[in-house]
Subunit: 602 residues, 2 copies
């Protein structure tokens, strides 16, 4: 009998078990994951491209040598229909090889703001040089700016290099992108007359990146995309990526490079979709947790990986796009708002910014759920913030049949009497279960007393069975196997929800108020958007407050980033918010362990 | 009989003629140029390395394959003793292969200035982070600066990246190099406690680069060097280099790269000599003519190569060392003073700065002699400046037996009666004649009426002989051949001196004063330093004013660069001087052609 191997499929986060010698296309199909395979798996279409990260496979076949370029083969690319599994392995499925796309949160609660971008257009029409007018190209530009009371230009050499040729090719007419600052006018670039200036707002989650292409003069979002964070191949949470980065300078640089490549690729796709040029992107705001911020900026992360977990930089940064390797306008700046602490970053500052849409006289709780969950309590002019290691369970990781919110994932479970009904994303046959689904399942099991408050199964229940002496609950018949919830899964969810709930409790304690005093519970983040609030309250992730107090605002961090892109004033406000925060370090808080143990119960 | 080929030896600027099949070591020896050849030319020592630029030679020999690395062979390196000449050719002799070094002007008239550098040290000793002190690394630094009333830091990511590790490795003690500016403190770098901050002043001549390593706190020059401009291989004057650059983007980048490589190599050598580290160099000032400025900055030069010859940038620039690829402190800035016009650059602004050492109430003429000669007339609070295409004749180029001021060059000629006595640099056997020498020779020939005022030889004179029906004057018996002054040589010098003299005359005319009104004639530049003033007056390069009015100040451009390095105030003054200049374009001046023709006469 063939050996059984485990295959981790990234970035969708699904682990499957297959017999040795199975090819990866069959393996994915057995697991219900649809790869593009136009030729039906006979190796002639080249559409089922995947990338081998670790593990042993059959040698490269002749058809692969025909279908893939040498540099692709060198980078680990294979055709799924040709690569046979010979060991446990990790495989990356590029988005273009997935027949259906994943559901990624890019929308948020947009609010109206006064447009006040940092970069704006300045249209010029200059006299060309002549024998009686020997002024340099830059002097001509400076004098045109001076007539409008702008101070002289400071610009990167790359911008000045392009300027001379641009002016000559465009008959000395141009739309300059300028960013005034005190006694300097930063020249970002020169565009043809009338071209709109654009900006990029990016929310870097540990798992997903949301990228928005925005017109600066109108605030209109021209295009948006949600892509997987390419760093997932190096560790599914930031802690493991920090460990990876600390193994060597090259590793740290690799994390940066892969991220920037993905940004550039996303920006190029958005520009194509919106029919604009990359050079029109003259400004960017990027938010992310502190580790993602440091990875992007190429800052050291060693000190983030060990107590007391201090950032290298917590101040808001304005860096040059060129420093990061972003292929937008050569003189564009990138604004990164302040980090609050080692595990509360600028993305949470962006979330705090969006809470301004709520009544500031009320008491608010803002909870941004992710692999790391950041919580802030805004009460009586004070802001208390903390970070909880909620882990990737809500992303479907560390769950027996877990997967991310992709087609085939069970997202809803209904138990009635002896019946169990499941609904999947895309209404396809069930492939696994996503975070929303498992929370829903547990909530139902509690309701029907299949589970007790400690998280122990009622072994008398007909749907609970024993496997290797361990109890598990059969949810549905999946593709080729049952989809179950195990005792271990219950425990993972208990840990995750206790992490969030104990954060909430400690902040309430710091503020000296009961949960009832919180008027509005703002639930942000992709998982938070699709979360079934009833289930979340039922399992005790949140206090049992009236449903109308909860607001699922979507990707608030992305919305906050957009606000900062469109308004310099918002950047200032974000900076003030960050400074105002009383950061509460949970790991050293005297009541944390007790609270955490208590909140483990359902 | 073997074919005769012409070989141009760079960077010393000597053209020799040899029979086909001669190897380059023999050829150089025949011309009196000493190459290092430790083994005597049998191909076993590898010391006579030269680089082939153009031309055909014998194939690479087995001994060369042993002595040279593949990448050296690929770059055109050969052993002079092995490479036999098969066509006209151009060969570059690396400095290490020359047995004697060239004489290069690096000294100038130093003046005392008030030290006011742009970068200075700020010593810090910080508390390390702890569980009760979670401030980020940068916050700690900012708070230390804030206590001394400095605004918060702005720094390149490369600087911030290095800072965290530096602080941890140095027990949270550091000497910061800071550059305050309005509401920002630029962080240049972090050094170990007590390390002096250094700066680099560079004068980029078309032919030679003078580099000074200076201690910012004291103004002491720790080390200096004069190296050949590596761009010589691509054209001996800036006009031919502009033509080379305009042939393609890659060419322009190559000119920049070769220049920056030479800077880095020079800086490394100076640091080694002074026993300091490159990271201690926290500031730099670079001056050069407008073309050199644009080559260094990677700015386009197409518009410098055609009328009306406008610079892309005439404003003073503050660029980042990293933008240029300079391997000094990662956050160091490089200041480049303003350019006056397409052919009057920041080097002349530096010369103007040094004229402040003279009485400002007097009328001054500042003449910086080079391949291009810049002249300024300072009179009654006005500055009139022009540029003269004096050409490379004074560097020994385009002269039959010309060479640069290197050992073996005739630098002094005395005619008395029938005798001709010559003195060579290094008192070796004569190899050729340098600019100073030929000027001296012409002056003597005029004195002894061997030449008339039109520059025509007296063919009755015994020392004048005919060669191919053309008259030439035999100066000395060189190594293997006579060293002569030809009619063509006389004409080259007439063109060169007329270019300078007509510039002087036009400026006097613009100012409305006679030559007598000029109190001080300031003669700058390497050639100007070694120039025999009597000869220069005699041939009419300068007006016939009393000798005591002439001041040979050496490399004034380099001294001006040093002043700007040591004083921010001087940078401001230089900027004002540049703006004050009335630039006079000679090529379109109505009286230029007539004046030029008149000043051709001796």
């Amino acid at each position: 009998m063939a050996q059984i191997y485990r295959i981790d499929l990234e970035p969708i986060g699904r682990r499957i078990e297959v017999a040795g010698g199975t090819n990866l296309l069959e393996a994915a199909q057995q697991a219900g994951i649809d790869l593009v395979a136009a030729c039906g798996g006979i190796g002639i279409c080249g559409t089922c491209r995947i990338r081998l990260v670790t593990g042993q496979f059959s040698p490269v076949s002749l058809v692969e040598e025909e279908q893939l370029r040498p540099e692709e083969l060198a980078a680990g690319y294979r055709l799924a229909c040709q690569a046979e599994v010979h060991s446990d392995a990790r495989v990356e499925i590029p988005p273009e090889s997935l027949a259906t796309t994943q559901r990624v949160q890019v929308e948020g609660q947009d609010v109206e703001i006064d447009l006040d971008p940092s970069v704006f257009p300045f249209d010029i029409e200059l006299d060309p040089p002549g024998l009686n007018d020997l002024r340099s190209d830059l002097t001509r530009v400076n004098q045109a700016l001076g007539e409008a009371d702008y101070p002289p230009v400071r610009a990167d050499l790359a911008v000045l290099e392009a300027l001379s040729q641009f002016l000559r090719e465009h008959d000395w007419k141009a739309r300059l992108a300028i960013r005034p600052e005190a006694a300097i006018t930063h020249l970002v670039g020169a565009l043809p007359e009338g071209e709109p200036l654009l900006g990029l707002a990016v929310d870097m989650g540990s798992t997903k990146l949301a990228v928005y292409l925005v017109e600066l003069a109108t605030g209109v979002t021209l295009a948006r995309s949600g892509v997987m964070n390419p760093q997932i191949s190096f560790g599914e949470d930031v802690v493991s990526r920090i460990a990876f980065a600390n193994k060597g300078e090259d590793n740290r640089k690799l994390l940066q490079t892969r991220l920037v490549e993905t940004f550039n690729q996303s920006a190029a796709e958005l520009c194509k979709a919106a029919n604009v040029r990359m050079e029109q992107i003259v400004d960017a705001v990027v938010v992310g947790n502190t580790a993602m911020h440091h990875f992007l900026c190429g800052l050291p992360v060693r000190q983030l990986g060990a107590a007391p977990y201090v950032p290298a930089v917590s101040e808001a940064l304005d860096v040059r796009a060129g420093e990061l390797g972003l292929a937008i306008a050569p003189g564009a700046g990138v604004h990164l708002p302040a980090n609050i602490a080692g595990y509360v970053g600028g993305d949470h500052v962006a979330v705090l910014l969006t809470t301004q849409a709520f009544d500031s006289k009320k008491t608010l709780a803002a909870i941004d759920i992710g692999t790391n969950t950041e919580i802030s309590l805004l009460h009586d002019g004070q802001i208390y913030s903390c970070s909880c290691a909620s882990g990737p369970a809500f992303e479907g990781a560390h769950i027996h049949d877990g997967m991310r919110a992709a087609p085939g994932a069970i997202e809803r479970v209904r138990i009635s009497g002896k019946d169990v009904q499941v609904t999947t994303i895309g209404n396809t046959a069930p492939v696994g279960i996503c975070g929303t689904g498992i929370l829903n399942a547990i909530s139902e099991m509690l309701e029907w007393k299949v589970l007790d408050k400690r998280g122990v199964f009622d072994r008398q229940d007909a749907r609970v069975r024993l496997y290797n002496h361990k109890a598990e609950f059969v949810l549905a018949q999946g593709v080729g196997r049952d989809i179950v919830v195990t005792r271990q899964d219950i425990n993972e969810i208990q840990l995750a929800k206790a992490a969030i709930r104990s954060g909430i409790e400690i902040l309430l304690e710091e503020a000296g108020i009961p949960a009832e005093a919180v008027d509005d519970w703002i639930i942000a983040g992709a998982f938070g958007t699709y979360l079934d609030l009833n289930s979340a309250r039922r399992v005790g992730m949140f206090p049992n407050m009236p449903l109308e107090r909860f607001h699922q605002v979507g990707n608030a961090a992305g919305v906050g980033a957009k606000q900062m892109l469109l308004s310099v004033r918002k950047r200032g406000e974000a900076n003030l918010l960050a400074r105002q925060v009383h950061y509460v370090e949970l790991t050293t808080h005297p009541n944390f362990t007790r609270t955490f143990m208590e909140t483990m119960y359902f």
